[in-house]
Subunit: 436 residues, 2 copies
C-alpha cells in the first residue's frame, strides 16, 4: 500500500527562484511526485494531508557538518583560548564521557533540536557512531554518519592501530539497513592522521563505496604547523599525496592559500563551512562568496554544540550572509536565496545527497518544513527567502516531514519523548560539570 | 494601595557575576526592593506572584537604537548596494507611507516583537514620534523616543525650517505624561544636518533637559564625504564645533580614526552599536572590545527592521560576541557576560537610564524576563549567561514584566491583540509593495 502525502494550504518556496503563493507538495512512499501551484496538484490516493495553515512550505534544511553527541558539552566551556578550551576542557570531557550509550542518548537530543528547528538531514562526524545510528533514524531524521578516524586513542577505538578497521566495521554494519541512513568515514585532520591513515581512508572509502571527509585549514595555527611539518599547506599536502581528488568534503576551509579554492573546485571537493563555530572560536571565516565564484560546492554546518552553541541552521544561514557582506563591505554579497541554498543544495553536495535533498521537486525525497509566518518578527512579508535568512529562527518552524512522514506537528516532536530525553541528558551532564 | 510583585521559582541572573540557582525578585510599585536568593526574599504584602517554573529570571533587554515603525518595510528590499537601497526603495517608501497613524500602528507591532523576545526598553528614533508615544506605553513597553531632526523634508516636518520646533513641541508634549516614556532629539547625522541644526539640537537638549543622539561614522563613504566637505572626520567635526561633549549618544561608530574612541570616552559620549544592521548593509563593524577598552559605554541596537531584519536583541548579542571574536581572532574577546551586558547596562547608558534598567537589583525598575530553559537548544546548561548569548533566541522567552506589571505570560502578549495588529500591518503592507 503506497504511502501518499499532500502538503498544502500555504505558499511554497521550493528552491531559488521557485516560489508559488499557493503551493502544494505531493509524495508517494516518501518521494516527491509534484511540487508547484496548489491548483495543479494531484491528490495521491488515500494521502495523508498536512495543512500548512498559511505557513510557508520549504525544503528541510541540511546540516553538512555536526558532532551531534557534543550537545552534552553545550556551554561547558566558552570564551577561552583555543588550546586551553580543547586540551583542558573538551578533550578530557570527551575522553571521560563519550561512549556508545552517551552518543545514542545525546544524538537523540541533537535530533530533537535539529528537527524542531527545521533541519531534516545531518552529516554527523564523531566517534562511537553506532550510537548515532541507533538514534537518528528512530528520531525520524535523515543522517549521513561518518565514523571518526584519528591516530590517537579515541572513544570506542582505544588503540589507534584499529582505527581503519573500526571505520570498516561501522560502514559495513549499517549499509542498507535503513533508507534514512548513509555511512562514511571522517579522517579527523591532516595533523592528527598520518599520511598512511589518510591514504587508508581514501582507499577504504573507494572500496566500500562511501564518502570520506576531513577537517581542513580551520585555523592559522593549523596552516603554520603544516608548513613546518610538511613544508606545504594542508590542502597542498593532500594534493601532493594524490588524495585531494579522492576527498569528498573538506570542513572549514577558513585559511586557504591563493589558488587553493580553484584547486578544491577542480578536484571536486565540496566545502562544509561552519561560520558559527569558526567565529566563536576566533578561527576566521570561510570566504563563501569566493569559494562559490571559484566553482566549489559550499554547504553549511553547525559543527558541535560546544562551539556554536546551538544546532539551529537558521542561525548559520543568517550569520553566513552577514559575514559575507561585512567582510566584502558589499551588501549585495551572498543574497538571501544564495545563503539559504548553502544549507540546501550546498550541504546536499557535501553529503553526497545531490538530487535527493535540498529541493522540493519531483524525484526528491519528501523532506519538508512548514514555517509559521504569522509571528510579529515575520510580519509583514514581501519576500519569503529574505525572511528565512534575516528574520526567522528555528523557533518559527511548525511542521516537519522527513521521507514523507510527519515528525514535527505544531511545534511538537512526534517521534520521541523530548522531556524524557532532556531529563536524561541533564542527569548525565550533572556528572560532567555541575550544571544548573 | 502599593503594587507588590514577586518573581520566583527559578534561577536568577541579575547581572554580570550575579547568579543564584534559586532566586527571587520582589518589587513594590514597579521598583525592585529585593533581588537575590529565594531564601531571603521578602514577600511584599498582597503581591502578585509570577512563577518562573524553573526558567531563568533575568533583566529585560534594552534596545539602544531602533526605528520601530520601519517594521512596515521589513524585507521590502535587501541585498542591494547601499545607495540603491536607500534612494530607490527606502526613502521613497518612507516619504509615501510614514505618518503619525502608520507610526502608531507599526510601533505597536514593533513593541509586540520586542516584548515577546525579551526586550523591555527601546530607544526609538524616527519621525512622527507622537505615534510612537501613543503605542509603546499602551503596549506596556518602556521607551525613550527621539524625534528626528534633519535638514530635508521629512514625514511630519515637510518644511525643514520647522524641524527644531517640531522637536521642541514633541519633547514638551510628552514630558512627564507617562513614567514609561522619556523623550529626546535625534539629529540624523552630520551630513544631513547643517552645523546650525546640530548646534540647535544641543541647545534644545540642554534647555529641555533631554538627550540628543546622532548617527555617526556609520560607513566609509560618510567619513570620506566628511573629509571632503569639512576637511575632518565626522567625530572631529562635532568636536571642532564644541558639540561632542554635549552629545549623549553616537550610533554606529563603525569608522573611527585613531584616537577617536578615547575622545568619545573623554567626552562622555555613549556608543550604540548595531552589528546586525552594520553587517547586513556591508558597512563594517563597531570595534566593541576596543571601544570598551577605551572607556566608552557601549550599548546594542537592532536599528530598523528594514536592515536587520528583526528586532530580537538576542540575535544582536550573539552576533556582537561572534564578530568580536572573529575580528580579533581571539575566542576570549567579548565573553558571554560582557556581550550580554551591552544590551543591559551599556544600552541603559545610551538612553540615560543608568541605574534604572539593565540590572535586577534594589532600586532598579522591575523590568524582568523569564527564559524557558527546558528546550532542547538550551539543554543541558552549565552557565546561564553562555546560553543566553550562544544558544537562546527571543523565542525562548516565556514571561516578561515591565514596571512590575506582567506584559507577556507563557509566550503570549497580554497588552494587545497581536493578531489584529499584524492583520492591520499586512493590510497596509499590501499597498506598500505586493507582499505574500
Amino acid at each position: 500500500m503506497p504511502r501518499g502525502l499532500l502538503i498544502t494550504g500555504g505558499p511554497l518556496w521550493a528552491g531559488p527562484g521557485q516560489f508559488w503563493p499557493d503551493g502544494a507538495v505531493a509524495a508517494v512512499d516518501g518521494v516527491i511526485t509534484y511540487a508547484g501551484t496548489a491548483d495543479g496538484a494531484p491528490r495521491p490516493p488515500q494521502a495523508e494531508e498536512i495543512q500548512a495553515g498559511g505557513g510557508l512550505i520549504m525544503p528541510g534544511l541540511v546540516n553538512a557538518h555536526c558532532h551531534g553527541a557534543m550537545v552534552l558539552f553545550r556551554g561547558l566551556a566558552d570564551d577561552l583560548p583555543l588550546r586551553v578550551w580543547l586540551e583542558e576542557h573538551i578533550f578530557p570531557a570527551e575522553a571521560r564521557w563519550v561512549n556508545e550509550e552517551m552518543v545514542e542518548l545525546c544524538c537523540r537530543l541533537a535530533a530533537a533540536e535539529m528537527l524542531l528547528s527545521g533541519t531534516t538531514t545531518v552529516g554527523d562526524s564523531y566517534f562511537c557512531q553506532d550510537g548515532a545510528a541507533k538514534a537518528y533514524p528512530q528520531a525520524g531524521m535523515r543522517a549521513v554518519l561518518l565514523q571518526g578516524l584519528i591516530d590517537f586513542p579515541a572513544p570506542g577505538v582505544p588503540d589507534p592501530a584499529h582505527n581503519l578497521a573500526a571505520c570498516r566495521r561501522f560502514v559495513q554494519r549499517w549499509k542498507g539497513v535503513n533508507p534514512l541512513l548513509t555511512t562514511g568515514i571522517f579522517a579527523h585532520s591532516t595533523y592528527t592522521c598520518a599520511k598512511d591513515t589518510l591514504r587508508g581512508a581514501a582507499e577504504l572509502a573507494t572500496e566500500l563505496g562511501c564518502q570520506w571527509h576531513t577537517h581542513l585549514a580551520e585555523s592559522a595555527e593549523e596552516v603554520e604547523s603544516s608548513m613546518k611539518a610538511n613544508g606545504v599547506s594542508p590542502v597542498a599536502y593532500l594534493e601532493n599525496l594524490g588524495l585531494l581528488e579522492r576527498l569528498d568534503t573538506a570542513v572549514h576551509c577558513v585559511w586557504l592559500q591563493p589558488g587553493e579554492m580553484e584547486m578544491l573546485a577542480r578536484r571536486g571537493v565540496a566545502v562544509a563551512a561552519c561560520p558559527g563555530s569558526n567565529s566563536k572560536l576566533g578561527s576566521g571565516w570561510a570566504d563563501i562568496p569566493d569559494l562559490l565564484d571559484a566553482g566549489c560546492a559550499v554547504g553549511l554546518g553547525t559543527d558541535g554544540a560546544a562551539s556554536n552553541n546551538n544546532l539551529d541552521l537558521f542561525g548559520e544561514i543568517g550569520l553566513a550572509a552577514r559575514l559575507a557582506k561585512v567582510k566584502t563591505k558589499d551588501p549585495a554579497a551572498l543574497p538571501a536565496e544564495a545563503a539559504l541554498d548553502l544549507a540546501l543544495s550546498g550541504s546536499a553536495a557535501c553529503l553526497g545527497l545531490t538530487g535527493v535533498v535540498g529541493r522540493l521537486a519531483s524525484g526528491y525525497a519528501c523532506d519538508a518544513v512548514v514555517v509559521d509566518f504569522s509571528a510579529p518578527r515575520l510580519t509583514p512579508c514581501f519576500d519569503a527567502a529574505s525572511h528565512l535568512v534575516y528574520a526567522a529562527t528555528g523557533g518559527n518552524v511548525r511542521h516537519v516531514v522527513v521521507d514523507g512522514r510527519q515528525v514535527v506537528g505544531d511545534g511538537t516532536l512526534l517521534t520521541m519523548d523530548v522531556e524524557e530525553v532532556m531529563a536524561k541528558v541533564r542527569e548525565l551532564a550533572a556528572k560532567v560539570g555541575g550544571p544548573l
